[in-house]
Amino acid sequence: EAGVAQSPRYKIIEKRQSVAFWCNPISGHATLYWYQQILGQGPKLLIQFQNNGVVDDSQLPKDRFSAERLKGVDSTLKIQPAKLEDSAVYLCASSLGHGSGRIPPGAGGSEAFFGQGTRLTVV
């Protein structure tokens, strides 16, 4: 079974430039996450999709970050314009999900599968 694919693996840009990351989740996974992981910290959830709808983007800096999930499969995350503090690893993950995405009591299939991430350096 193919895992979660992300590209590019590394990206260096100057501040105020724009950048886009791409994610292809595991086939059949309804839930897709984008996380930001700053060195030495845990992953911070930016946005979560259930199929092609957003179910949580409460921590997404919407003035500069945007994301979409085309046809409920691939996803792109964009930053425009980038700031120095955006330097981090951007991780995409997917999980099986359950229909509407809400967790039934005792449900399994909730574990997340992560890609290798994109390391972004803003200079």
């Binding site: 030495g40 910290q41 959830l45 259930q50 993950a93 005792g106 909730s110 992560f114």
Partner: protein
């Protein structure tokens, strides 16, 4: 506000000993708690899930406990090996929610020969 806390200090242990990592949470009612392993330059890898109505879960050399009264999970690796050296993350998802996984900062484990 919701908070998930893991030991920020690295844990150094001798090969063969049992490693115990802690995950504490506040202002949260998780449906379940998950543990992940993360190696440098890689994405986290799922290890174990324990539900709110479970006290303990085991998988090979791994054991997880979940105490919803103490709001704490303990993650044990028995007979530890240098290959177990990594950062271990706990993640929680709230009951009735959309499987929104919130992660702690992780604890780095170093197992010395």
């Amino acid at each position: 506000s919701q908070k998930i806390e893991q030991n920020s200090e690295a844990l150094n242990i001798q090969e063969g000993k049992t490693a115990t990592l802690t995950c504490n949470y506040t202002n949260y009612s998780p449906a379940y708690l998950q543990w992940y392993r993360q190696d440098p330059g890689r994405g986290p890898v799922f290890l174990l899930l324990i539900r709110e109505n479970e006290k303990e879960k085991r998988k090979e050399r791994l054991k997880v406990t979940f105490d919803t009264t103490l709001k704490q999970s303990l993650f044990h690796i028995t007979a530890s090996q240098p290959a177990d050296s990594a950062t271990y993350l706990c993640a929680l998802a709230r009951s009735g929610g959309y499987n929104k996984l919130i992660f702690g900062a992780g604890t780095r484990l170093a197992v010395h020969p």
